[in-house]
């Protein structure tokens, strides 16, 4: 019975090296993302079948639309009123599940002004496909 020869060990070594690099790099970037900027303004995001509503730190409420300022860090507190949804701004790689019974947080800085779609990224029933909104980033 043949046993592993050196080509196989080298191959496994290369594969493992790539995996270690992917793992270490991911760890490092995630570590950076874990720190929320101190001046981040809090936005409460509520998902429910089938629309998003927002509340700014000064009490202003918005439904289906979110108006933010360019360059200002924001921290989203994401909640749900009924089933699991997932708050997603694909252009800014913002993605966090809205789970009833808990509050999840994610932060970002809208660096570019403009209009960006908001969508739901967890199946939530009949109109999941159209649970959309718009992010308006006002330029400074």
């Amino acid at each position: 019975m043949t046993h592993s020869t050196w080509p196989e060990w080298i191959y496994i070594g290369v594969v493992t090296a790539i995996l270690v690099w992917v793992g270490a790099d991911s760890w490092y970037i995630e570590h950076l993302l874990d720190k929320v900027p101190e001046d981040a303004k809090i936005i409460k995001v509520t998902g429910q079948q089938w629309f998003w509503s927002f509340e700014h730190d000064d009490g202003t409420k918005e439904v289906g639309e979110l108006h933010l300022k360019q360059g200002q860090p924001y921290k989203f507190e994401v909640m749900s009123k009924d089933v699991i949804h997932s708050f997603n701004i694909p252009d800014y790689t913002v993605l966090m599940d809205a789970v009833p019974g808990r509050v999840n947080t994610i932060w970002f800085v809208p660096e570019e002004a403009g209009e960006f779609p908001i969508q739901c990224r967890e199946y939530c029933g009949l109109i999941h496909y159209n649970m959309r909104g718009t992010l308006y980033v006002e330029g400074t």
């Binding site: 970037i29 995630e30 570590h31 874990d34 599940d97 019974g101 999840n104 496909y129």
Partner: protein
């Protein structure tokens, strides 16, 4: 093994037989029938998604039910029963025993499949095949969702009974002169996948029961209104179903281990490597489940643990790829249909694994989670690897089961169209995911890039559909009217490579 004596047995006697070859045939017919039914649902979805707006499906509720049943069918009614079919047919032969350890239990396990599948298909629930609560508890309409739960429960029991049967047959009924280390790798793949199934499936059985009592309102395990935690379900679900994906892939790789050495006219590069990789994969597969849950609000440490667990399983899969390539290196290969499918399967397996490594990188998950990237990724595994390996093996055992040869030209067309089609659909879906398109959606905004990519994907899917029609014609025609096969060497490989039924003593392991 395949040939009947003078008077063919009546059909009903085959249906209610407990002999392993008959039960295998029943599993085979059932699983292939569901491959086509699930595939039809997939084609309906791709036709619908060709353009924004409603094409052939009138409302989102129907679409949601279609993708739920498509996923459930392909996993529980095609992939797992097909592996059972192959295992049932060949494991007793490979371990030199007269039948499975528990023949009657074997037949019972099969007959649970039609019952469970009837519940699933009649209800046609809309919970998605994961059935995450709270949606599946407080919103999913009945009785469809309840029928789905019962159907899956029955199929789960069937899987566990099958797994027990395989483990006992291989470990206890194996011929005393056959050491485990010389046992064919296909048998090893069935053994390891059955062991995973035995450990992993009961968790999901418990989760299903809890889901049902939650739906009835008598418990609140996953219902926040009653103090429960929906994320608990996800842990229980993925603790079963991440190892479960390995239960699906490992037999397909085992099937490739039958095909590739034989058609390369060379022994497998390293039997020991293959065994080690199967065993390693089974163990490490239990360490990665929560990579499906990165977006639920897990902490940095939790995510890191599961990322490491996921990455740890990759070298084992890589060992299989090396084993195959090293076996084919310098060989005089007979490129009949089974070999084409096996090699195509390896290529797509590699692509699937590479994409998976990107998925598991924590920050990249923010881009890919629940988008079409995931759809493309897992389909490269379930279709590109598992279905390719299964179909290739189907062509391989065709002459042994039927005594006839399939039409090689049609099989070639089947492979070419399926390979091109699969590459088109699933790679395009990776891109769609990067462009942000969520999964499980009936309709999408008219972004030009999304429309173009959806159309390309749908064309690829239609190619697969056409290839499957060719397959059906080939199978039906060749089974009843095909040329008689040369039972000593159906594929004209030549040489001393034994087929399972030819090995005269336990010392000749099947092939190399």
């Amino acid at each position: 093994m395949v040939l009947e004596l003078a008077k063919p047995r009546p059909v009903w006697q085959i249906m209610f037989s407990t002999h392993h070859t008959d039960v295998a045939l029943l599993y085979l017919i059932t699983s292939v029938a569901f491959l086509f039914m699930g595939g039809a649902l997939a084609l309906a979805m791709r036709a619908e998604l060709f353009l924004p707006g409603s094409q052939i499906i009138s409302d989102s509720m129907t679409f949601n039910r279609i993708f739920t049943v498509h996923g459930t069918t392909m996993i529980f009614l095609f992939i797992l029963p097909f592996a059972s079919a192959i295992g049932n047919y060949l494991v007793p032969i490979m371990v030199r025993y007269k039948d499975m350890a528990y023949p009657k239990l074997n037949a019972i396990a099969f007959w649970m499949i039609p019952v469970g599948s009837a519940l699933i298909w009649l209800g046609f629930s809309d919970t998605t095949w994961n059935a995450y609560p709270p949606y599946s508890i407080i919103r999913a309409p009945g009785p469809a969702a309840d029928m789905w739960i019962f159907g899956l429960k029955i199929i789960g029991v069937s899987s566990i009974l099958g797994a027990v049967n395989f483990i006992v047959t291989i470990l206890k009924c194996k011929h005393p002169d056959l050491p485990l280390s010389k046992m064919p790798l296909l048998a090893w793949s069935i053994l390891t996948s059955s062991l995973i199934m035995l450990v992993a499936m009961p968790t999901f059985a418990a989760a299903l029961l809890m889901l049902l009592t939650d739906r009835l309102g008598v418990s609140g395990f996953f219902n926040p209104a009653m103090g429960g935690d929906p994320i608990a379900y996800q842990h229980l679900f993925w603790f079963t179903f991440h190892p479960e994906v390995y239960v699906m892939v490992i037999p397909a790789i085992g099937m490739m281990y039958e095909i590739i050495p034989r058609f390369s006219r060379k022994p497998i590069f390293s039997q020991g490597s293959g065994i080690a990789a199967f065993v390693l994969l089974s163990i490490v597969s239990f360490a990665s489940w929560a990579h499906h849950m990165y977006s639920t609000g897990m902490s940095f440490t939790e995510k890191t643990v599961f990322m490491v667990g996921t990455l740890a399983a990759v070298p084992a899969s890589a060992m299989h790829v090396f084993n195959f390539l090293a076996t084919m290196w310098g060989a005089r290969i007979r490129f009949a249909a089974p070999m084409k499918w096996a090699v195509g399967g390896i290529a797509l397996f590699f692509a699937a694994g590479a994409g998976g490594v990107l998925n598991t990188a924590m920050p990249l998950d923010f881009i890919t989670h629940d988008s079409y990237w995931v759809v493309g990724h897992f389909h490269l595994f379930v279709f590109g690897t598992i279905a390719f390996g299964s179909i290739g093996f189907f062509y391989y055992i065709f002459p042994f089961v039927t005594g006839r040869m399939y039409n090689e030209k049609l099989a070639d067309w089947h492979f070419i169209l399926a390979f091109i089609g699969a590459s088109i659909v699933f790679f395009t879906q990776h891109l769609l995911g990067l462009y942000g398109m969520p999964r499980r959606i009936f309709d999408y905004p008219a972004f030009p890039e999304w429309i173009a990519m959806n159309q390309i994907a749908s064309i690829g899917a239609m190619l697969i559909g056409i290839s499957m029609v060719i397959f059906l014609i080939n199978v039906i025609h060749s089974s009843s009217k095909g040329k008689e096969a040369n039972m000593d060497d159906p594929f004209g490989i030549g040489g001393k490579y034994y087929y399972p039924h030819q090995a005269k003593t336990p010392h000749h392991h099947s092939g190399y």
